[in-house]
């Protein structure tokens, strides 16, 4: 170190001038700092603002779907029309023209309307599905036959929209789906207290329908339920078994490396591609029927499997090796050590991962479109082999429907779907919290 060194850098506070310069620069840097910080804050707020906007619009659109406009009519359940032979045979009762009875009731309500065209418009105020409701009530209580009864009948979706304020009454006639004459009748009914908004139970107990006022999510929910059942029954055991093998038994070689890379990749493959696989494999090759929850469940299994495997492996790695060593140390076989000691500790983590995977599967729709689960299904499926819709696909179908009344129903179906997801995720979080506390 005999070479002459250059002088050391000047200390920052060496002179008042240097210090002042430093201070000026510092002020600029601090401004930059707060700008950056503000940008970060704005990013977070932007995300949160979208979330708030999203939920507010959604709820704002959805809440009216939980009520449905009904019209009170005095329906003459004449024995001659329903049960001419007086047998009370259920088949005869079921075949009667209930919609006709409703039409008669409307005619009585508005005796002044006589022209055919006008009558058609009048009849359009009540839902074309109201007859089915009436039939159900008569079948449940045949004693009503022959009486004049007051029934709250579902109004047509256009009337429903008008009453809910989604249609502007003062708009020019050509711009609304209810014409002036119909509007006058509706106002008469309103004045007579014969129009009321009631809880829309049909939304929860019926299947899909072309008439918005008659449609519900029941078949879609059932379809999704069966699908998840299949997915859970397959992906949990398969995923856990794979995770145990890879984490505890697999030798570290190129093959297991490939399996691992493959699983991580599979988790990031677009879901629609799984739909293609389902179409080509399950439907074309194995000849399974289209539109059934079984196939949907199989496709979703393949899709969720990587998620379950990754979560289960993480749960296994988080069990300290000392547990395994302790079990092996008292003479347990490796299999016993894993199944008796490691698994109970890893299980909550595995379940958490599985629930999250299931939640993802529940919200998935793209692969289901590929395997034909977009059919128009009215009936509620009774097994995984009956054709059915799925909740997210039902949302997709309704979102595509032109009727204004489907907008609120779509939003309401979304709320139901989100509620299911919320429950599942909350369950996963609770499980994780408990697990963290005990583990």
């Amino acid at each position: 170190m005999n070479r002459q060194r250059p002088g050391p850098p000047e200390p920052v506070a060496s002179s008042p001038a240097a210090r002042a310069e430093f201070g000026r620069r510092l002020a600029r840097r601090n401004r930059q700092e707060s700008r950056f910080r503000l940008a970060g804050l704005c990013a977070v707020l932007a995300g949160l603002a979208f979330l708030a906007f999203f939920f507010l619009t959604l709820i704002g659109n959805a809440y009216t779907a939980f009520a449905q406009t009904h019209i009170l009519l005095d329906v003459e359940l004449s024995a001659a029309a329903i049960d001419p032979e007086g047998t009370r045979n259920r088949q005869t009762l079921g075949r009667a023209d209930y919609q006709g009875l409703i039409r008669n009731a409307l005619r009585q309500q508005f005796p002044a309307v006589t022209r055919r065209g006008d009558l058609r418009q009048l009849f359009a105020l009540v839902s074309p599905g109201a007859g089915f409701d009436l039939r159900k009530q008569v079948l449940a209580n045949p004693g009503l036959i022959g009486q004049k009864q007051r029934f709250w009948l579902a109004a047509d979706d256009d009337v429903d929209m008008l009453i809910k304020g989604h249609m502007n009454r003062s708009a020019p006639e050509s711009q609304r789906r209810i014409n002036d004459r119909q509007l006058a009748w509706i106002e008469q009914l309103e004045a007579a207290g014969r129009i009321e908004r009631q809880f829309n139970h049909r939304f929860f107990i019926s299947g899909d329908s072309r008439d918005p006022e008659m449609s519900g999510i029941r078949s879609a929910v059932a379809g999704s339920f069966y699908m998840l059942l299949v997915t859970l029954a397959l992906s949990f055991p398969l995923g856990v078994a794979t995770a145990i093998y890879l984490e505890e038994f697999a030798p570290k070689n190129r093959w297991t490396d490939l399996v691992e890379v493959n699983i991580n990749n599979l988790a990031a493959v677009p879901s629609i591609v799984f739909g293609l696989l389902g179409l080509a494999l399950f439907i074309n090759l194995f000849g399974l029927p289209r539109s059934v929850p079984l196939v949907g469940g199989l496709v979703l299994t393949l899709m969720t499997l990587p998620v379950v495997i990754i979560a289960a492996r993480a749960a296994l790695t988080s069990v300290p090796p000392s547990i395994r060593e302790a079990a092996l140390g008292v003479g347990a076989s490796k299999m016993q050590a894993i199944f008796h000691h490691v698994m109970p500790l890893a299980l909550p983590g595995m379940l958490t991962g599985t629930i999250i995977g299931m939640a993802r599967a529940l919200g998935e729709s793209a692969p289901l479109l590929m395997i034909g689960m977009v059919a128009f299904i009215v009936d509620v499926p009774e097994s995984p082999l009956d054709p059915s819709a799925a909740l997210p696909v039902q949302i997709y179908l309704w979102a595509d429907s032109p009727e204004r009344a489907f907008v609120e129903r779509t939003s309401a179906a979304i709320l139901v779907l989100l509620a299911f997801l919320l429950v599942m995720n909350a369950g996963a979080i609770l499980l994780r919290k408990r697990y963290e506390k005990h583990g």
């Binding site: 078994a241 990031a268 629609i272 080509a280 919200g363």
Partner: protein, 456 residues
């Protein structure tokens, strides 16, 4: 006798085998190698597997066998029909058996064949049930005889279990292979109809093949370039939204926010990731689309109600949590030492973040962005609902464009002949999508992995 009778028999046999096997060692009355349950499982395993293999084998062979037998009963002139028509007849027979609607009134020979079918099926079910019973009894009897105090039942059972675990782990591999093969086969068929060059470089996409050959444009055009540009445009817009917002919010939450804000804001942002894509699609189509249009009108711009901008914007919001959680991971993986080192030199926090943390975390962030890109490219529902169907070759985000996934869905929805170019085109697009996202994922995951290893 329903077809699953054989399985019920097998289940009963297995339970019996387990019980007998479990009791067996106690009869020896002296020290034996494994716990009794392992002897039970040993016998049960021997009971199940041979019989199950037999059952599966029969299930594979049965349809072909029945078909050949049933068709043999048909009159000779029907047998001379071409294969396709024969298939239709056979379908009619099966429909008749299953009580479904049959096209037209069934002829006499069809009804005869149907009853033959039913008889055969009944015989087959009975046969397999008996076979399973015999096989299960035989193999479990053999296994029972082998149960001796010296039999290392536990080791054998555990070896079987281990094989099962290994078999489970191959499912994931087979899924990948299955995906690849299924799209590849159909794609190859497609490329026999349409040249790959036209598909990859053609500028016009209109897959509507005409019903009558004399209609205009009957051949359909399968140039996928407009789809690629549309996909890239929408994905690019999505990343333009998601990357800055996701990255900045990850930085803010991990480096600036205090524990309380973090505890509230982080899960809230993650809610965005839990919303199903169909819901985003609905939102994009019904709220964002019209909003952008009104907004555009206010500025005198013609915004299509299915504009790329709307779909891209919403897709961007969808992948914000994806980007932010990945960046959060990689930023937290940067050792605290580096932050301390920079702060101790008098750097402000933002200088530390911009000049030390982000460069150090860059590979991880890039990997995360690639994963996000792969996600955006493969995203389906948002674009199906909010992007257009017309294949416009444009870079204007205010116009409607279509994407690869949208076309896959439109081509495959509804009943389609499985060999028309239209349906096959969906698989060709699927192949392309799969290969692209796979490449992106492999690269991204490798980059992220290498990055992690660097700081471990």
């Amino acid at each position: 006798m329903p077809p699953y009778t054989a399985l019920i028999i097998l289940l009963a046999l297995t339970v019996l085998g387990y019980w007998l096997g479990r009791r067996r060692p106690a009869a020896f009355g002296r020290k034996y190698h494994s716990l009794p349950g392992y002897y039970g499982s040993y016998v049960a395993i021997w009971c199940v597997f041979p019989a199950l293999a037999l059952y599966c084998l029969w299930q594979l062979v049965e349809p072909g066998f029945i078909r050949s037998q049933v068709l043999a009963t048909l009159p000779a002139e029907l047998l001379e029909l071409p294969e396709a028509e024969l298939g239709l007849i056979y379908n009619d027979i099966r429909n008749l058996v299953e009580g479904n609607i049959v096209s037209g009134a069934p002829g006499e020979e069809i009804i005869a064949a149907a009853s033959r079918y039913t008889a055969l099926q009944r015989m087959s079910n009975l046969g397999i049930a008996l076979a399973v019973l015999v096989a299960g009894l035989a193999s479990s009897g053999w296994a029972l005889r082998r149960v001796k105090p010296t039999l290392r039942a536990r080791n054998k059972v555990e070896r079987t279990l281990r094989m099962l675990l290994m078999a489970a782990s191959t499912v994931a591999i087979f899924t990948t292979i299955g995906i690849f093969l299924s799209v590849l086969f159909e794609a190859i068929q497609f490329f026999q109809l349409v040249s790959p060059l036209e598909f990859l470089f053609g500028l016009s996409w209109s897959p509507q093949t005409a019903i009558r050959p004399d209609q205009v444009g009957s051949s359909g055009a399968f140039g996928a370039v407009p789809l690629f540009t549309g996909t890239l445009l929408i994905s690019g817009l999505a990343l333009l939204v998601a990357v800055p917002v996701g990255l900045l919010s990850a930085i803010y939450l991990s480096e600036y926010a205090n524990a309380r804000i973090r505890a509230i804001a982080k899960p809230m942002l993650e809610v965005l990731a839990g919303i199903p894509t169909v819901v985003y699609g609905y939102f994009a189509a019904l709220t964002v689309g019209p909003l952008l249009r009104q907004f555009g009108e206010a500025f005198g711009l013609g915004v299509s109600s299915e504009s790329a901008l709307g779909a891209g914007l919403v897709m961007g919001i969808m992948i914000i949590p994806f980007v932010s959680s990945l960046s959060d991971d990689v930023i937290n993986a940067v050792p605290q030492d580096l932050r301390d080192g920079s702060l101790a030199l008098g750097a402000t926090q933002s200088e530390t973040i911009r000049q030390v943390l982000i460069p150090a975390a860059l590979p991880g962030i890039v990997g995360g962005i690639l994963l996000a890109a792969s996600r955006a490219i493969g995203e389906t529902m948002i674009v199906v609902m909010a992007a257009g169907l017309a294949a416009n070759l444009t870079a204007n985000p205010l116009e409607a464009v279509t994407t690869v996934t949208v076309q896959m869905v439109t081509l495959l929805i509804g009943d389609q002949e499985f060999d028309s170019a239209k349906t096959l085109a969906a698989f060709a697009l699927g192949l392309l999508l799969f290969v692209t996202t796979l490449a992106l994922n492999v690269v991204a995951l490798r980059v992220v992995r290498r990055y992690r290893e660097q700081y471990e």
